[in-house]
Amino acid sequence: MKKILAIALALVMVLSLGAIAFADDEPIKVGIINNDPNESGYRTANVADFERVFSEENGYEAQTFYSLKNDEQIAAAQQMIQGDIDFLLLSAAATTGWDSVLQDAQTNGIPVILFDRTIDADESLYVASVVSDMAAEGETAVAWLEEQGLDEYNIIHIQGTMGSAAQVGRTGALDEKVAAEDSWNIVTQQTAEWNAETAQQIVQSVIDSGEEFNVIYAENDDMARGAVAALDKANITHGVDGDVIVMGFDCNKWALEEVLAGRWNYDGQCNPFQADTIDGIIKDLMAGNEPAEKTIIMEEVGFDAATITQEDIDTSGIGVGSEEMAEEAEAEEPAEDAEEEPAEEEAAE
């Protein structure tokens, strides 16, 4: 069963590689290593953005490999370097283990551009890195919260999976502020592991205990949604003119719609749209210009319920909103899952 699956997968991979090898003209050949698009709404938007920019129409020929496993990514990168690519674009699953691969790329004259996440390797091994600064996201959010000028901040802090870059960055800024200011208190600080339901239980628990709070600082949109469900159940008003300030991160379209409707107060951006910036860097490199700065930090803003517009949602929202959805319906199916399905039905007979 597994063997058949493995062979089928290998076939699919070989075929897709073959398809690329027989392309015509002189497009720019890029190898893109990224995480699995199913990982999150952020990643889905990230992958889609790269597919949009590095397309045949734009004069590119892209080889892609998606995995959440570092070793698989490394193996794929090595294969791409041995093969025929001009640039390697990399969002590594883990920060370590990449030195030898990057050295290989360098000796083969393939410039490496990191995106989304940096890695622990010497700066000379890559030409640029286009990344998000999670700590800055947290600082932007905390600065916004301070601007609200509450007399006292009693915060329910719902964290993401402990140790993830997003959690560390977004928690750090708030922890610092709470330690520095007497009027900022943490009512509870617990991890819901990005899970809406766990977040709901955490907030429910605070409500049941009768403790006072006036801010919910959830480290992603799903958890903010869970928190709001608990508030609604207890008839606690939230959002603009409400008793509780609701803050989320990631800027999913549906979340920004909540902000626009005034049910949430703030949503911090984690910008997945790095492809255009990288496109610019590649064009510069082809013209012989090194990028001015090695590390390019994506511009990331926070959206305030008082100032957000529908246009913000259209340009910065990721994934699908609840209003408009139809145009993306015919997205292609990942090959690996397609393999799984028939096997299942056969066995089920």
Binding site: M1, P37, Q190, Q201, K233, M325, A329, P334, D337, E345
Partner: protein, 370 residues
């Protein structure tokens, strides 16, 4: 038959009625003791834990709130899964570790049918149609596991590892990687409240499932056959039972449980997140079975004890939230409690407890007789 290790209770050779009574008493002892310990702890630490209030939600409908309601509400999915997991454990002597992933599939199917190919937020099909399709698909996936375990004789944990690994990707693929959101409030009734009824709906669904399984166990041979197959498949075959069929059936029933749990899960927030929905719930479901004092190697089972075990786990989770246990330390606390409970239910410790009870027991019957 070499079944004595699996069912140590059999050593006591008294009348059948008494033996059954002793069995129930002993099996229920662990979850009841755990529950009492948690209740006692909360009672001493903060009696307001048990307060239940009648309030209104933001829509103006009456709702009951309080820790006890939270526990009953959030344990619902686990209770439903524990039913299927108990049967699977008893029949096949192993556990299905794919239930979390298949809940993602069930939920995804539900949303796919309701939202249609365009993932629109208004419902394209009646909920009952979506639920029926969701049940069929879930049972097919359950059947897939069942075939691997019953007919191909693959170890249950290895067989279900396939869907454990691939399930969430399949779930994402069903909806073209989109995360549909349903705006119609009717869809959320199953996971929240029906307007006018102050008790959360999942509690009713869980009660209904429990009632159904008890009726099935009472009026069919399912329970007897399952235990027979679990204790010794060979001898049950000699007695005219088809062990493959019984094992297969257990996985299909678990598939149905998964469908119901999946419906509740997606209904709670009217949306789904493939990577985190029902994450690690398989471990809690297995723990519920273990807490119920059921042998994880199969054979005899006690459904009531498993169900109680599921409530105990949620009780523990809610207690830890209530006492604001530091987020990074929370798993450690849970682990400590789990270790205590598992050690208490270990056969060696059980035997010790049993012999203690025997000593006390010699005085009791005299009293009862008097």
């Amino acid at each position: 038959m070499s079944t004595e290790t699996k069912t140590p209770v059999r050593k006591e050779s008294r009348s059948v009625g008494e033996m059954l009574k002793g069995l129930v008493r002993q099996q229920m002892f662990i979850p009841v003791a755990a529950l009492l310990a948690l209740v006692l702890f909360n009672l001493i630490a903060d009696p307001s834990f048990f307060a239940i209030k009648l309030g209104t939600n933001s829509a103006g409908d009456p709702v009951l709130t309080g820790y006890l309601i939270t526990i009953l509400d959030n344990a619902s999915e686990l209770v439903i899964l524990a039913i299927g997991m108990t049967l699977v454990t008893a029949a096949s002597g192993g556990q299905d570790i794919s239930v979390g992933a298949t809940i993602a599939i069930a939920g995804s199917v539900m949303l796919r049918v309701l939202c249609g190919a365009n993932a629109s937020s208004t419902m394209q099909a009646p909920i009952w149609v979506a639920f029926l399709i969701c049940c069929v698909v879930s049972m097919l996936f359950g059947a897939f596991n069942g075939v691997l375990v019953a007919y191909l004789k693959i170890q249950p944990m290895v067989a279900t590892l396939i869907l454990f690994t691939a399930g969430r990707s399949i779930a994402a693929w069903i909806n073209n990687n989109q995360l549909p959101i349903i705006s119609d409030p009717v869809f959320s009734y199953a996971g929240t409240f029906i307007p006018g009824c102050p008790v959360p709906t999942p509690i009713f669904i869980a009660i209904a499932c429990v009632a159904v399984i008890f009726l099935v166990l009472k009026f069919t041979n399912l329970g007897l056959y399952t235990q027979a197959v679990g204790i010794n498949a060979q001898s049950s075959r000699l007695n005219g039972i088809n062990p493959e069929k019984i094992k297969f059936l257990a996985y299909v029933i678990l598939g149905l449980c998964v469908a119901v749990a999946g419906y509740i899960k997606v209904s709670r927030f009217s949306t789904i997140n493939y990577s985190v929905v029902a994450k690690d719930i398989e471990m809690d479901a297995i723990l519920a079975v273990a807490l119920g004092g059921n042998a994880l190697g199969g054979g005899k089972f006690n459904m009531a004890a498993s169900i109680l075990g599921a409530y105990v786990i949620q009780f523990l989770t809610t207690t830890l939230f209530k006492f604001n246990v530091n987020s990074s330390a929370l798993p450690a606390y849970k682990a400590v409690v789990v270790i205590i409970l598992v050690v208490m239910s270990a056969p060696a410790v059980k035997a010790k407890l049993g012999s203690l009870r025997k000593k006390n027991g010699s005085a009791k019957p005299a009293k009862e007789a008097a």
